[in-house]
Amino acid sequence: MISLDELKALRDKSKAEISIREKGHLAGSNLDFYRSHVLVCAGTGCTSSESLEVRNGLKEELTRLNIDKEVKVVETGCFGFCSLGPILVVYPEGTFYCLVTPEDVKEIAEEHLLKGNIVTRLLYSEPGTDKKVSDFESIDFFSHQKRVALRNCGGINPEKVEEYIAHDGYFALAKVLKEMTQEQLIEELKKSGLRGRGGGGFPAGLKWQFAHKTPGDIKYVVCNADEGDPGAFMDRSVLEGDPHSIIEAMAIAGYAIGSEQGYIYIRAEYPIAVHRLEVAIGQAREFGLLGQNIFGTGFNFDLDIRLGAGAFVCGEETALLTSIEGHRGEPRPRPPFPAVEGLWRKPTLLNNVETYANVPAIILKGADWFASIGTEKSKGTKVFALAGKINNIGLIEVPMGTPLRTIIYDIGGGIPNGKKFKAAQTGGPSGGCIPAHLIDTEIDYDNLIALGSMMGSGGLIVMDETDCMVDIAKFFLEFTQEESCGKCSPCRIGTKRMLEILEKITKGKGTPDDITQLETLARTVKNSSLCGLGQTAPNPVLSTLKYFRDEYEAHINEKRCPAGVCQELLNFSIIAEKCKGCSVCAKVCPVGAISGVVKEPYVIDSEKCIKCGACMEKCKFGAIVKE
């Protein structure tokens, strides 16, 4: 068991070791330690783009150059800029290298680490410019962000508890155990205004209070790390980059409600996050930060991991608890809410990863500090996974109330290939879209609801003019339909009917009353489904109908897909003036729909054409168009 004094000593020691990564650190000011740290991202994104090979190569080079005692290689979690991975940051300069390949390592080692010359060609340049930026904090993608939940991600080695402790890790736990009553702690959380980051936005302090007030000798604390929204990877990054922050927060929650056992329910598709959590739990136990009599206060708390098995509905809280119990993850009606009757029918507090990640920061910096960030009813920051048609794909954290425009243009660097921004989808399969004309919307819980979307867990998918909104709605409905657990019929049958209609429309077989049919079905599914999956499944359809009704109408009335996505509505034709009569297209057409005489314009028989697009890809003269 570690005492508070020992923790402080450990913090001071570790802090000195990693102070080289702080801004304003003077090179060579502390000769006891390494003169340089190279942070290599080892998150899921970068390891997929071979960052481990880069790390290995770098270590070999350092040994070869005989500077391995001077330069330290540190593996970190996600920096958020996964699309540019593998990412390397060299301290004390804070030089940000991106898209580093194993072949680049030699140059970095010889030029930068040995001679001190920055390797300019590997620096980042802002989209649309060729000006290289070397200092990582002045890159637009980072400079507009405010990091609370992601405070340590990319800055520390997640497999070294000492580095977490260096950033005041476990001091929030020490503070609540030694200085605060359960009531004071819950009051503080309420005052901070923190709302659940898993989707619903329920005030966290209130939830903790309910679980605290429910009498019971056995209670549980559960972390929802199922991260079901496809295309969202906030929770993954926190768990990979800063697993101790979740462990610490759950222990704090345990103290608040009077629980000695927690569970983290994490999807099996995140092997790296699972591994880091296992390592972190092991270290926390070793240091006595989990287990019996923590900080000698008599408080006991321990944690276990449970893996999901690929069912989206298990992200729903009652289904999740049923799954931990070892059963089919079917939701059950609420009330009773988990705070009253949860895991094994005991009072259970369940929060999302990002919700927990905020807690230690709130305890250490105070509720007032947290509440000073964000908007009136949405306090603090929110992490978003920016993806889709945007230059800077990655993970960002911004104050609540940040305008969508700032996110897309200042942080996201705008839309690639000179295309026009069309809409952003938030809230995943439960959410809706924000169309281009509402780009100045300030993103918080309530504004999104007012637009017919929702915050969800933080997926933010950007779409441009080449994305068909009917197709996107169909995509989400396919997802929810497939993931419906089938327990209640409005969801099981209703989503299926809606999907059938959407399929009909995208195939050019829609009829004018399909839209009213969709709307009627959507209302029924929303109002009479048992759980949130069914209750929100129609949202993507309703929201695209609200903002892009004309696209539905074009599909139905004119049998036309304005974005040129829906295969069966496409019409391929040859522009006679551009056609050189080379006959290539006629040769690739699988159904013999193209005919003509060499050196004269060819023609497509649209009756025969199966719209495969092969001819268009092959024509070297751009003579074939689809519309």
């Binding site: 899921t44 996964c82 893996l307 999901g308 657990c485």
Partner: protein, 172 residues
């Protein structure tokens, strides 16, 4: 309950069932042990045929119907053998808007498989999944543990030959 076939003696000699015994032993007193045991068992056997399911049911003292119900509910559990290389195309939103459907179509064509099917030589299985968390590299697919990102449509034949080559080299 005893059965007359030889499977019990076969099982005794099959190291995989010995491993399964150890797994069951380790978890059987833990509440909610079925799903962790199924995960581990699938790791050992590659899939969960009925024989394995009933073995687990006995070991954990659960009705077979319960085990079967759980296996069929969760999409990561499979009752049919899988190929040596499982091509898993991400069909999550980030990958979808970057064209993962085309990648999937190309794979279907090149491998001659539908989703969930395995080639006759047992080499390749085609699957779709929802997000592996590498959305920054969309579109992505995984082959067993390895993630391949930033895919272009014409990467598909290249990837397939990569794994075929690997196989040829491995069998030499």
């Amino acid at each position: 309950m005893s059965c007359n076939c030889q499977c019990s003696t076969e099982k005794e000699n099959d190291p995989r069932f010995q491993e399964l015994d150890e797994i069951i032993e380790k978890y059987k007193n833990q509440a909610g042990s079925l799903i962790p045991v199924l995960h581990k068992a699938q790791g050992v056997f590659g899939h969960l045929p009925e024989e394995v399911q009933s073995y687990i049911a006995k070991g954990l003292k659960l009705p077979l119907s319960e085990v079967y119900g759980v296996v069929s509910f969760y999409s990561l559990f499979t009752t049919v053998p899988r190929g040596k290389y499982v091509f898993n195309v991400c069909l999550g939103t980030a990958c979808y808007v970057q064209g993962s459907r085309k990648i999937m179509d190309n794979l279907k064509k090149e491998l001659g498989l539908g989703i969930g099917e395995t080639t006759a030589d047992g080499l390749f299985t085609l699957e779709g999944c929802r997000c592996v968390g590498a959305c920054g590299l969309a579109p992505v697919l995984t082959v067993n543990e390895k993630v391949h990102g930033r895919l272009k449509e014409d990467d598909v034949p290249r990837l397939i030959s990569l794994y075929k080559l690997k196989e040829e080299q491995g069998s030499k």
